[in-house]
Amino acid sequence: MKITEDGEPYGLITNIQKYTIHDGPGIRTEIFFKGCPLRCIWCSNPEGQSYEQQIGIYPSKCIGLSKCSLCINSCPRGTDTPIKTEDDRLLSLQEIPECKNCFRCAEECPSRAIMIWGKKMSVPELMKVILEDRNFYLKTGGGVTLSGGEVMLQWEFAALLLKACRDASIHTCVESSLYCPTEHMEKVYEATDLVITDIKHMDTERHKEYTGVGNELILKNIKRTAELKKPLVIRIPVVPDHNNSEKNIRATGEFIRDVLGNHVIQLQLIPFRKIGTEKYATLNLPYPMGDFSPPERSVWEKNLLRLTEIMKEYNIPAVAGSSQKMC
């Protein structure tokens, strides 16, 4: 766990979103943890992948060098700055190692054309924000959802934060790939009321191809979660031509029925949406699904509903999308 100079543990957080209504019951505040061991090709939050602060750039927000130049002027590397410009505008910024200890340009940029992904936040700082919407949780059975990135990568900090929530009687939910040592998971579960996880593919080779890792550890942890009787919601991010074959869906259904004993509150089939383009660009990263053209919405919806029906054959409480009540 990382600790500040004053000995305060902190987490690296990409974003806090209030009034989240699809990741757990009721109205929730969702905390996005930074850093993830997987590299799913369909990931639409690439800013959550690296477990380090990073520079993100939005050249279209730059107000023009002739009017501003605060970034370049603040860069300690002078003419050797990694900030590249073109036509009076910010063009790109390929981070160099020195950037990590500097980020001065991002601090100076008035328009947030250069910004930092990832904020160091302590438990009390996060709790302050979380508690602001307490009445909303109480009214709706909502609470806090930790998500990412991968929560388990910062498992010690996550456990602290969850404990603080529980002490404040706030419902807690963890959304995780469960690709982590089982002991970490169990530690995090101590103050977790609900778990949301994915089954991305039942074939470990394909899983590896799409996410960078095999599925054995994940399936083992899901099984363990069921054994621990942790309330569990499973999602399948349904990506056309990748994991939407009937075979894979049936294999998933069998796993949930036979191995988990249908210990699942809800199984959600979530349609893939191509929304990552801009964010990958801000990080100077290629978008793996950039060339993918999703099928027509109507075709696609039908397909999703058909897969949902198949799941129901296994007596699994399956739904399409995430907007039906969990509990």
Binding site: K18, G26, I27, S111, K139, T140, K325
Partner: protein
Amino acid sequence: MMESAIKREVKSTEPMAIEPFDKEWGVGVSGLTENTSPFPRINKILKWLKERDHTADHERAVIYTDGYFKKYTPYPQILKCALTLRDVLQNVSINIWPDELIVGEIAAPAKSAPVYPEFSIDWLCDEMVNAPLDQRRNDRYVISEETKKALFEIKDYWKGHTLEEHILSTLTEEELKGSHLEKGVNFFDLYVSAGAGHVCADYDKLLSIGFGGIRKQVEDQIHKVNTSDPDHLTKKEFYDAELIILDGVTSYISRYGHLAADMAEKETNPERKAELLRISSNCLQVAEGPARDFWEAIQLWHIATNMIIIETNGHSVTYGRFDQIFYPYYRRDIEKGTFNREFIQELIEMSFLKIHELCKIRNKTAIVFSSGTFMGGTALDVGGVDKDGNDATNDLSYMVLDAHAHTRIPNPWMGVRLHENSPWEFKVKTFNVIRIGTGEPKIFNDAAMIKALQNYDKPIEDARNYVGIGCVEPCVPGKTYGWHDSSSFNIAKVMQLAINGGRCIGCGSHCPRYSKCAGIGGRLGIDTGNLESFESFDQVMDSFDKQMEYWCNLMISQINKVDLAHQRLKPLPYLSLLIEDCIGKGKDVSAGGALYNHSGPQGVGIGTVADSLAAIKQLVFDEKKVDGKTLLNAIRANWQGHEPLYALVNSDRMHCYGNDDDYADDLARFVTATYCKHVEHRPTPHGGEYMPGVFSVSQNVMAGFYVAATPDGRKAGEPLSDCIGPVHTQMGSHDRNGPTAVAKSVAKLDHSRIGNGLILNWKFSPGAVSGETGRDSLISLMDIYFENNGMQSQFNIVGKEVLTDAQKNPDQYKDLLVRVAGYSAYFIELSEELQSDLIGRTELSFD
């Protein structure tokens, strides 16, 4: 969660409407469906109405001019007005349109606007020549040659006699300098060229005793007047006027009865024949007598309201608490089997169409900022508590909501009253209708509305019976003459004067006032200090307070003159029949006959001013990032040459109102409280007290035209923040923490002082409110907002892409209905300025 699960059970097995309470009509599908009503008649008339052009009609104007200048010249003003109006009612042409079940017009055919020369006529004649109304981009009116000719003929009679000319002649140079005609601090033009409207008649009394019963009330009073009473003559003239009007009323309604009978005789279709006969007997009954069943009641309610419009030339003539007014009739008819629920549903939808056909011509400036409004302010409420505080929701509350889902037209302007014991089913239906995305209905919090009225000394029983006039203005129906909306006050302009020594930002010789103002060392306002020299933020607040006091005083003196002019020139003898206690007092409603009297000017730009003050506090005094002089120069230069500062004030580094951040929210409280302080409880000429409101409708766009750049990152001419909402500028929205933060920030303002009401506009993407999860979260969000004393909310649920596309391809979005401010309107009927303002509002989306 247990608790909410219990709440979700359907408590009642009684029929609540013809549609199930949880019927969904889709999310964000405004304008995307046809034939939405289960009644073919309704769909048919709707289509007919949509195809008809808006027109103008001269008959009222001609008859009125004739009476006013030829027949009744020697009479005292109130009798002159009564006699001319009686002539209108007795002589104007009337029509019964195909398939109608409820009849009545506003002295002009369906979708045609009468003309009211007694207020002002020059502008209309001028536009007919120089800015033809049929060539307008929005709010088009086709005017026939015959009408044009007739209007030109009467025009000269009115020279020097209109209300408008009278008012302008009474205003001093000091009062004019900040008006809409000059520097735009205060827009009080609404009642200069039109009537005050904004009133809700005593429908309970009317339906139960009829006009005959009212006549008897008048006659009883006449005998009580003591001839040695100093008011004797005034009272006598008033009562005479009431009796004259009642003659007009009875003959007007009877004329429809006779027309229906004549048409029945010629009708060959037996079904229609029977309908016409029933229409005829309805009219003949309610011409004098009380309503005996639902059909007669809704007929009387409709035609009586039309006559208010014919007389007053006011908008926001409100239809009251529909479910409370009509429930006794509904219940009796269902119990006795007179009508079934389906037929009553059809009558309700029919009445909506009749309200939708009403219209009012506005001048070319007004329609830029207040476009697509048809008549405007045709408000009608359902739900809420009864006079004892118990839930009063009934079957009709549900049926009215279905009626909107079935008609999907912007009229009437619907309000749903909610309170802590509102049935869950009723909330579900309300939000399912809201999710269609037409912008209807708005929702009110009973607790906050009632508290605001109590703060203005209304007894609890009356406060509980409130209705939202027009947009939202809290009002005790049948007892109040509220002058709601008597002015729009540009708080942002005042803030600018407060930081610039009383001069406008950008003051210079290009200003038409220069030679009598700054050019000779003067200033528009008073010198309360300058941002270059303030030493502390307290001095800024103090300067703002003093500048506000100066301008609020001026506003009140302007409104008072307008008020007095209405009393002198335009007494309202017909309306006086329907507002308690005019008959008892023997006094016209315009002169203070009502039990409760008010004047409610609106403050505009709370968010803009709060964020501007927050920026000054943060950058100049707390962080000392820039000095006052630099910031002042930046806004003087409209941010040119100060781009980094412009980007900064629009960035998330700033404290902004709407983020549940006390730093800025406290300033929004301060701004609101300052406005209220200088306005509330001051006396009005018609015998009541001032009651401030905080909403702009769409005046924020208009007021913004008059305001140079502001420190919150707004450029010159951009709209001010709308109503009570957070700021959004060209650079983006200043509320960044989602809907819970907005709800909490807004609830921090002291709503109980805002007696004339406020509006909070929400914009959600369809994805954010779809599904059961989306619906229930939205309901809970509003529950909590209301528990924290929020007063009102209204919603747009249309994707930004849809709006942007509709702006480009209007032909494909003819029926797209959206919420503007106090009202919903067809998007393509809005001016470009308003369309862009709508697109710019923060869209809350989280999927």
